[in-house]
């Protein structure tokens, strides 16, 4: 297991190097001068401008800049945001819990609803429930989630007034220093009455929006994986010996049906991060998705560079984890 993990991790190193080169090269090609953006367009002497360039290392040859970039990255230095003057890594770590919290609830929703509905559809194949699920999952998979978010804001949030529509908590009624960065946990730690409930209420709409596509994919994948497993002999045996239905479907069949489903759940992490960009923009959710868009608009190269590096590194890491999870679920492909 350890050996496999090591080998798998080693294989990602060239990818990381290519990634560094890609982000570095791409950002250099972006039109617009970061120094001018930082100092504003007027009222600065050429000497000050040259000094700024020197401070940012922009007066050095490109290859030297890349070399410095790689060395810095290896020291865990992802650069300094041109807009806020704070280290990119610090900004990322501050904002990331918000995205993680949102992603966790979205994925929990998708899995908790997707697995049972997919299973029921497979067991009751051909019934109205099955047909409905197929129809709804095609719609969910095809959903422009930015529009879906606006619709929910329009109806659930504004017209019916059931949930808040932006931010992570009601800042007028609740204020406390962030300890973990996870609003629900911080709210609980603060001990203020109603804070946890308010934080959860803020999560409802964004989690639904972000969870829609994964939910559709998981439900559909579970259904087809289940259909394949249900015709196996061991499932018939389990039924014949009189086990209750939930045990046959939920344990015996599920264990094998889960293998392709886990792959799909793992693959959704990339989708989730891409979706977070849209969801966070719509709901003013202060996470890394919204931060990336703001960085583009501010021409904040280091933030964009570091942000994309960190996000991609996470996707690669999750893919390795998914590979390992196979072994846990299915001993037949356990890695020696």
């Amino acid at each position: 297991m350890l050996k496999f993990l090591f080998k798998r991790a080693l294989l990602t190193i060239p990818t990381f190097f290519a990634l560094m080169f890609l982000t570095f090269a791409a950002i250099r090609l972006v039109p617009g001068d970061p120094v001018e953006v930082r100092v504003g367009e007027h009222g600065i002497s050429p000497e000050r401008l040259a000094q700024f360039r020197h401070e940012l290392g922009l007066d050095q040859p490109i290859w030297l800049q890349f070399w410095h970039y790689v060395v810095q990255l290896c020291h865990g230095d992802f650069g300094t945001s041109v807009a806020t003057n704070r280290p990119v890594l610090t900004e990322f770590i501050t904002l990331f819990p918000a995205t993680l919290e949102l992603g966790f609830f979205a994925m929990a929703l998708a899995t908790l609803v997707g697995l049972p509905t997919g299973t029921i559809a497979a067991v009751k194949r051909g019934t109205w429930f099955d047909q409905l699920l197929i129809g709804v999952s095609v719609a969910g998979y095809s959903m422009p989630i930015f529009w879906w978010g606006l619709l929910l804001i329009m109806f659930v949030g504004e017209r019916w007034g059931w949930t808040p529509v932006s931010g992570r908590i009601d800042l007028i009624n609740y204020y406390y220093e962030p300890k973990t960065g996870f609003m629900v946990i911080d709210a609980w730690l603060s001990g203020q009455a109603g804070a946890v409930r308010d934080a959860l209420r803020h999560l409802i709409l964004p989690a639904i929006v972000l969870g829609t596509v994964p939910l559709a994919v998981i439900a559909r994948m579970t259904r087809s994986a289940m259909l394949e497993v249900l015709s196996e002999d061991y499932v018939r045996t389990a039924r014949a010996k009189g086990l209750p239905a939930w045990r046959v479907f939920g344990v015996h069949a599920m264990r094998n049906a889960l293998i392709p489903v886990i792959t799909v759940i793992g693959l959704q992490v990339g989708t989730l991060l891409a979706g977070a960009v849209l969801t966070e923009t719509i709901f003013s959710w202060p996470g890394i998705g919204k931060w990336l868009i703001e960085s583009i608009n501010r021409r904040d190269y280091p933030s964009l560079q570091g942000g994309i590096m960190l996000i991609s590194a996470m996707v690669i890491a999750v893919n390795v984890l998914v590979d390992l999870l196979y072994g846990v679920v299915n001993p037949r492909i356990r890695h020696g």
Partner: protein, 300 residues
């Protein structure tokens, strides 16, 4: 006529491949409906200037934010209402089909052609070429699609053409991996060896013999790729990084009307609905295509 008579009187002859495909496709009700809607959308796109009641960019200053016909005060002059600049929403939606289909089809075509060539090159040359191409594709797949598209647009600048380039880059790996895997499988088969022995050149072998035999999954991927590209381009438009005004692009229209979500909700509802209907129908037709082309791939 003669054909029909023949079909009635003689015992059923084996179906031709295209007939077999059609009868399999038509069995799937969702796919048939999807295809019909796609055909309608293509019709709208081609004849947009005939079908649309107004120009998509003409501003009717006397009818700014006019409500659609089903709301109080709506008129048939602007059946779907107008936007904040007084442009007819129905006409913009109809012309929007052009933009979206253009994006979808060009992304599909370019990534299909380049992806196929790269995938075949991997399979044909192996070693260094294969490793280099596969690594680059792995890299592209590691960056979340929209984030990568944003990066490309940031470099190239936000406009329609660069949206297409950005989304093409994002979808390239799918074709490369698909072609590479199936071509490598086909190369092991005996008919390839036979063709080699018969003296078929490498280029002809790859482009004719091998490619034709891996075409089925590619066609399905291409069909579903159109809808994904439309969705991705609309998302970029929504973020202000896609087609720029006054082009009638659905995602951009949504972004422009966001601030009127409370006062004039139809401005937000209709463009999104257009995206959803287009993408759903292409996906339904694509699923039907897969099931009809290859029953083995059927997702039961």
């Amino acid at each position: 006529m003669a054909e029909i008579l023949l079909g009635e009187s003689s015992p059923p002859a084996p179906q031709s491949p295209s007939r077999a495909f059609w009868s399999a496709f038509r069995e799937n009700r969702g796919a048939t409906i999807g295809l019909a809607v796609v055909a309608f959308i293509v019709f709208l796109a081609i004849f947009a200037n005939v079908v649309a009641p107004h120009s998509p960019i003409e501003q009717f200053r006397d009818a700014v934010k006019a409500p659609p016909v089903w709301e109080r005060g709506g008129t048939w002059r602007f059946a779907f209402g107008t936007d904040s600049l007084g442009r007819d929403l129905l006409s913009r939606l109809i012309f929007g089909t052009r933009v979206s289909l253009f994006i979808g089809v060009s992304v599909m075509t370019v990534s299909f052609v380049f992806g196929t060539l790269l995938g075949l090159a991997c399979a044909a040359f192996g070693n260094a070429v294969d490793i280099a191409v596969t690594r680059v594709m792995d890299l592209i797949m590691a960056v979340p699609s929209l984030v990568l598209a944003i990066l490309v647009v940031a470099v190239l600048g936000p406009n329609l053409l660069d949206t297409i380039v950005a989304v093409t880059v994002v979808y390239l790996p799918r074709y490369v991996r698909l072609v590479r895997a199936s071509a490598m499988g086909e190369l092991q088969r005996e008919y390839v060896t036979a063709a080699r022995v018969a003296g078929v050149g490498q280029a002809r072998l790859m482009l004719r013999t091998v490619l034709l035999n891996c075409l089925t999954p590619l066609i399905v991927q291409a069909a579903l790729g159109v809808s994904d590209a439309i969705l991705e381009a609309a998302a970029l438009g929504f973020l202000g990084l896609g087609a720029q005004p006054p082009i009638a692009e659905w995602g951009t229209m949504l972004a422009d009307s966001r601030e009127f979500i409370r006062s004039n909700p139809w401005m937000v509802t209709l463009p999104g609905l257009a995206i959803l209907i287009t993408v759903v129908s292409i996906n339904l037709a694509g699923d039907g295509l897969r099931d009809a082309l290859d029953p083995k791939m059927r997702r039961s």
